[in-house]
Symmetry: C2
Subunit: 220 residues, 2 copies
């Protein structure tokens, strides 16, 4: 969650991620998706890998009775939809108006077969996803509502390169479904963080981190 994943690299001296970006900067479809529009659905054939150009995306799964768990939020630059098997295991939707780059999966595996650096970049993306998922497990398994909300805010700040003031692209429901809470609890937690002076909420989708140190202490 808070680990500086994006600053790490398998081979510290080489920017493989950038490398993959460069290699793939060949003609690619870059469709736009409106807010709440589906990009792909759970169970669909995974013919493409996706990258957020601008905007933000949520990937989630739903249980039979409608309970939803958001797996991950994806921001500009992030890849998503990379699958091991033939089918997507999650549904992906745009959270705001979003531009997406689509890369044919076949093209990607060809590239990986030809170039070791591309193969390593794909491995790195997958391993970063695993690290993030493990942080998510720790969050859901052993943290209180307050710690979870604080952690999410810091994570968004880091991933969108925000300083103190941050744009929250997701609804309270999205936050709740990511954090394993209800909307009410998320809302109450945010107001109590505001009452304690740790954050300010100038508007619903705007948060100011007023005491980042204190927030970080909660999530350590």
């Amino acid at each position: 969650m808070l680990s500086p994943i994006r600053a790490q690299s398998f081979e510290p001296t080489v920017h493989l991620d950038a490398n993959l970006d460069a290699v793939l900067a060949t003609p690619c479809a870059c469709p736009r998706f409106a807010r709440d529009e589906e990009i792909f659905g759970e169970g669909e054939t995974a013919d493409y890998v996706y990258q957020v150009v601008s905007g933000a995306v949520r990937t989630y799964r739903i249980l039979r009775d409608g309970r939803r768990q958001i797996d991950e939020f994806h921001f500009a630059g992030d890849y998503f939809g990379l699958e091991l098997g033939e089918a997507h295991r999650v549904t992906a939707e745009a959270m705001t108006d979003t531009t997406i780059r689509m890369i044919r999966r076949g093209a990607l595996s060809d590239l990986a077969a030809r170039r070791g650096d591309a193969a390593r970049a794909i491995l790195r993306l997958t391993a970063e996803g695993l690290q993030r998922s493990q942080d998510h497990v720790l969050m859901l398994g052993r943290r209180s509502a307050c710690e979870r909300v604080a952690g999410l805010l810091l994570d968004i700040a880091e991933r969108t390169n925000a300083k103190a003031e941050l744009d929250v692209p997701m609804s309270r429901q999205d936050m709740a479904d990511y954090l394993g809470l209800t909307i009410e609890t998320v809302s109450r937690t945010l107001t109590s963080l505001q009452d304690e002076g740790l954050i300010a909420l100038p508007s619903v989708r705007h948060v100011v981190l007023q005491d980042r140190r204190a927030l970080e202490r909660m999530t350590a």
Copy 2:
């Protein structure tokens, strides 16, 4: 958790996992660890990748105040300790007397650089770990205590190739720390599953799945 990960493969017709096993079947240190002995600690340099030969391993992280979250259980054949960065992000301990195969990380990356199939096998292992972690997130975020316990039992059964009767190598505390619950809740849930006739508990570390269908219905 219940998805048949082990049956999937990136290239459906080739058994890459077996391939990696074969390639690595060269002279390797195979130390034994006693129950509860540490294999590696969080923060230590990740010089090796590990494979369970026999026995079972838990990997976990601990928060400042002692809360523990078990990340994953590893059974015979499973690889663990594969890291993106230089350091291990979790601690690994033997749950029972366990034999472990240690593979030099350098040897593995050399191999991956030389052989595309080895690189793909490593990617596959990482991606499987990611899938498992995502299932874990869904479990912790949106499932009840009862659903979690049922899910764990079915997962153990599958991964240890047990039919109805299964050997549970972990303590109640381990289950609790994997499931994001307390020992008391795990214990109570097991007894209530027994009372409902879904399982039997001939001894503490022995479970008989008496109505697997019903258990599966809980976790779907």
